[in-house]
């Protein structure tokens, strides 16, 4: 389990979040949903160790950590593929960076390339493939970290609707096939409702947890599911501050 407890962060006089807490169950998919500028990215910076918290603690599987840099894989909005490496070399970066066994890893990466629809593209350069394929390669690289916790920072927000839909199902594979524990931040309500086991609704700054929802609807989910439509209306109401159905 990932446990974030009582985290506070201030930049000067501005409080980004105060006494912020949430937890993620092992092998769960928790989505943090909040309005733009609420401090989601700062939270991820804090989780990855780019910035440090003023107060509070992080624990993964009961072990207290200053940040999750050593235990989490990371994927973000940009595919972050290095243009001087082929897709395969990019996917192997987590292994190369720590002087791991590249030959053994290459076989594993090749299987993942095939599984994620990149067969035949391993030796293409990043500029020669589409944005969606670049994100699939980033997904392979994320899996090559071989870490059970995956942090997703709006990983699909730069993609077109069709590609995003395909990649949403691939993100679900991380949970169902590769048994990862996932934490994703997004401001896309539909994406959150399609993927989350637990939805954490955040307030504008200072960011606190406004409401949590446990979604029991089986995956893969459909946009026209009446429960999701009702929940979407409720969440939208909460985020925009307009009237909403309080039956949740």
């Amino acid at each position: 389990m990932l446990q974030v407890s009582g985290v506070t962060k201030q930049f000067g006089l501005q409080t980004i979040f105060s006494d912020f807490s949430f937890s993620v169950a092992e092998n769960g998919f928790t989505v943090l949903l909040g309005p733009s500028g609420c401090g989601k990215s700062t939270l991820f910076d804090l989780l990855t160790g780019v910035v440090s918290a003023d107060t509070g603690s992080l624990a993964w599987r009961g072990r207290q950590l200053p940040h999750l840099g050593a235990v989490a894989a990371y994927m973000q909005q940009k595919d972050l593929l290095l243009p001087w490496f082929s897709l395969m070399d990019n996917a192997l970066l987590p292994v190369k960076a720590v002087n791991g066994d590249v030959n053994a890893a290459e076989g594993r990466a090749m299987v993942l390339f095939e599984r994620l629809g990149l067969k035949g593209y391993a030796h293409h350069m990043p500029h020669a493939v589409s944005g969606g394929m670049g994100q699939r390669c980033a997904l392979v690289r994320t899996l090559m970290f071989e870490r059970d916790l995956v942090l997703l920072d709006e990983p699909l927000s730069a993609l077109d609707a069709i590609t995003r839909r395909t990649l949403q199902s691939l993100l679900l594979l991380l949970q169902t096939e590769f048994n990862k524990t996932l934490v994703m931040i997004t401001h896309d309500i539909e994406e959150a409702l399609l993927l989350a086991d637990e939805l954490v609704l955040l307030t504008p700054r200072p960011m606190v947890v406004q409401e949590r929802f446990v979604l029991k609807t089986p995956k893969p989910r459909r946009f026209d599911d009446p429960e999701l439509i009702a929940l979407k209306s409720h969440v939208l109401g909460k985020l925009t501050g307009e009237g909403h159905d309080d039956s949740f």
């Binding site: 001087w84 970066l93 720590v98 990043p126």
Partner: protein, 249 residues
């Protein structure tokens, strides 16, 4: 590309025609300002005389580049790895650039002698700064998201250096090297002016004293061609190494 080359040729052609025509029209004596045609003929006909001097200057420049790289590259890496070192050295490095190389040349000849060493050092001093600054800025310009990714991957300093920072900084490095190799000729020639027994700078001084101005210009022409060749070589090397330069990231 072809269009810009044509424009360059046209500009050069116009300048040379005005020069040639002006000298002939006004009857300017050759020992004051020889015509371009005389300079070209001298540069070709006196090649057996000029070439050995050019070879010496070329060697000084190449060794100067090697010296500058040997010092600037590790220093840039150290300054990038240790920002405190950068803050400590930056004022001295900037101040060193404010000193005219002409002022250094006589001292270097006194310290290193009339041989090749003082000229190599002069060329190295001139190239060093653009390489150091461009490489350091290249390292520092690395996107923060990539740095975070490498930190999360657990990449150590050297691995991150070789896999991320060096390739990232390559276009900056080559930009600095291009500037460096073109100004390297200045360092070598100034060194030769102050005290030498061979080299294009030495040939210029000797020819000027004998009013062989066409030979001075011929040496300048050889020097310019040398600079162009070095610039072209670095440009080609950059194209071979930085194959991703124009690709979107």
């Amino acid at each position: 590309m072809i269009r810009s080359n044509l424009i360059s040729l046209a500009v050069a052609g116009v300048i040379l025609c005005l020069w040639e025509g002006g000298c002939r029209f006004f009857g300017v004596p050759g020992f004051i300002l020889p015509t371009p045609s005389v300079i070209v003929v001298t540069a070709v006909m006196k090649a057996p005389l000029i070439a050995p001097h050019a070879a010496v200057t070329f060697l000084e420049i190449v060794l100067g580049i090697a010296l500058a790289l040997a010092v600037a590259v590790p220093l840039a890496m150290a300054m990038f790895a240790m920002p405190a070192l950068e803050r400590a050295l930056a004022p001295f490095l900037v101040a060193s650039q404010a000193v005219p190389v002409f002022a250094l040349a006589p001292l270097l000849v006194v310290w290193l002698g009339y041989g090749i060493a003082s000229k190599v050092f002069m060329a190295g001093v001139i190239i060093f700064f653009p390489i150091l600054v461009s490489l350091l800025e290249g390292f520092k310009s690395c996107n923060r998201d990539f740095q975070t990714l490498f930190r999360l991957m657990g990449g150590g300093f050297w691995k991150t250096m070789t896999l991320l920072y060096w390739p990232w900084a390559m276009p900056h490095f080559f930009a600095g090297l291009k500037v460096g190799v073109t100004v390297a000729t200045i360092g070598a020639v100034i060194g030769e002016w102050v005290g030498a027994q061979q080299g294009l700078g030495y040939l210029m001084i000797q020819s000027n004293a004998r009013l062989k101005v066409d030979l001075v210009f011929a040496a300048i022409l050889w020097l310019s061609i040398m600079g162009l060749l070095l610039w072209g070589f670095v440009g080609r090397l950059e194209k071979r190494v930085v194959t991703w330069k124009n690709n979107p990231m």
